[in-house]
């Protein structure tokens, strides 16, 4: 475990295999909420928080519950249940104690339960940092760090996209490609430019 590995995880999950533009996770929210910068930023911060926390929680579940009892095949079911319960809990806590914060990103929390980026990162962590049912050294920190980096990658893509789409609002485009089709083509061009990071290796 050294600084280089962390740097490699950061570069890979923010740029090279960006969660949205190259892995296509969380695409629904990316297309639906990226029309303006402010909601896009609120959604991204909610995703960043939930992914980081759920990476830690699912690591603990996987390491101390599923592996010792030989239940690794229940991974999908247990991860999605834990994530759903966690998101619900966060929503209740924020609504009760931090109403201001709730108004900013609370309404996006229920959407995050079915955001494939969250479950995707949990599964990815379990695939990458466990080998034959054993955790690799430092896997807990790596999992949390990878979760946070994926969240940062999501935020980056969301910010760029919403800025572009705010401009597109004022341009005259054919009726048929308004909204979704144009958003996808824009995302395609963004993805093409992100492929330029492909040579980055550590």
């Amino acid at each position: 475990m050294n600084i280089g590995q962390f740097l490699a995880i950061f570069i890979s999950s923010v740029f090279v295999s960006n969660v949205i533009l190259s892995r296509f996770l969380g695409l629904c929210s990316f297309i639906a909420i990226s029309k303006e910068t402010r909601p896009a930023l609120a959604m991204s911060s909610a995703v960043l928080f939930v992914i980081t926390m759920s990476s830690a929680i699912t690591w603990v579940i996987y390491r101390y519950l599923l592996i010792p009892f030989d239940l690794a095949y229940l991974r999908t079911i247990s991860f999605i249940l834990v994530i759903a319960a966690f998101v619900q809990l966060v929503e209740m806590i924020i609504r009760k104690f931090m109403p201001a914060l709730y108004r900013v990103f609370g309404i996006y929390l229920p959407l995050i339960t079915v955001n494939c980026a969250v479950l995707g990162v949990a599964v990815l962590n379990a695939d990458m940092f466990f080998s034959k049912g054993r955790p690799l050294p430092g896997s807990f920190l790596f999992s949390i760090f990878q979760g946070a980096c994926v969240g940062v990658g999501y935020t980056l893509a969301m910010l760029l996209m919403s800025a572009i789409r705010e401009r597109l609002e004022y341009s005259r485009v054919p009726e048929a490609v308004r909204e979704f089709p144009l958003a996808f083509v824009t995302a395609s061009l963004m993805s093409l430019s992100f492929m330029g990071f492909n040579g980055f290796k550590f």
Binding site: R23, L27, A176, P181, F184, V185, M195
Partner: protein, 197 residues
């Protein structure tokens, strides 16, 4: 019988989950690099749709309204796990190619959407037909996109070279190609819809 076939057919064109409802696009874009991957993904999703629609339609009167979504998710996750284990046992190569996108069928909006919008309020046979139709529509859409991408991206279809001397555009096989194809196709479908009205 006529009613059942209508439930089946609507998923294929009129309410095609990919092009008309624009649901469940994450796996569509990720696994449409080749037609064989698309077929595997389509088969797995159809299995999950039919199975979960059937079970949910059977238990709809027992489940309290407030906790129905978690219950649906458990049913769906069970079928996804079955599909995952079967795929691992009989076709490990396909499982490797599809990677994390098989477990991600759980959070695919098509499956939960059909459970909530259809299976939780309709009788068993209708729900099965609906699941089968949606699955077929999903598979057909996936095959359409993946054949476009495979032909233009690698010049092959199902692994056979098609056009001799054709210079494939690698970009179409990579992530940008997927986004481009789906964007253009959604625009095309919008155009057709606009013409009809």
């Amino acid at each position: 019988m006529i009613k059942l076939s209508a439930e089946f057919l609507k998923g294929i064109i009129k309410q095609n989950p990919i092009f008309v409802l624009a649901l469940g696009l994450c796996p569509v874009l990720a696994v449409s690099t080749s037609v064989s991957n698309a077929l595997g993904m389509g088969a797995a999703a159809t299995f999950v749709l039919v199975g979960s629609n059937g079970i949910i339609s059977l238990i709809k009167n027992v489940v309290p309204d407030k906790i129905r979504i978690p219950c649906f998710i458990i049913v769906i996750a069970t079928f996804v796990t079955i599909a995952e284990l079967v795929m691992k046992a009989y076709s490990p190569a396909l499982n490797r190619a599809l990677g994390i996108y098989v477990p991600l069928i759980v959070v695919n909006c098509i499956v939960l959407g059909r459970a909530e919008a259809f299976a939780s309020r309709r009788p068993l046979l209708d729900s099965l037909a609906d699941g089968l139709g949606m699955g077929a529509g999903f598979t057909l859409g996936l095959m359409l996109i993946s054949s476009i991408r495979e032909i233009s991206g690698s010049g092959k279809l199902l692994g056979y070279a098609l056009l001799p001397g054709f210079q494939p555009a690698l970009m179409m096989a990579l992530p940008p190609g997927a986004l481009l194809v789906i964007g253009v196709m959604l625009g095309f479908f919008n155009l057709l819809k606009g013409r009809k009205e």
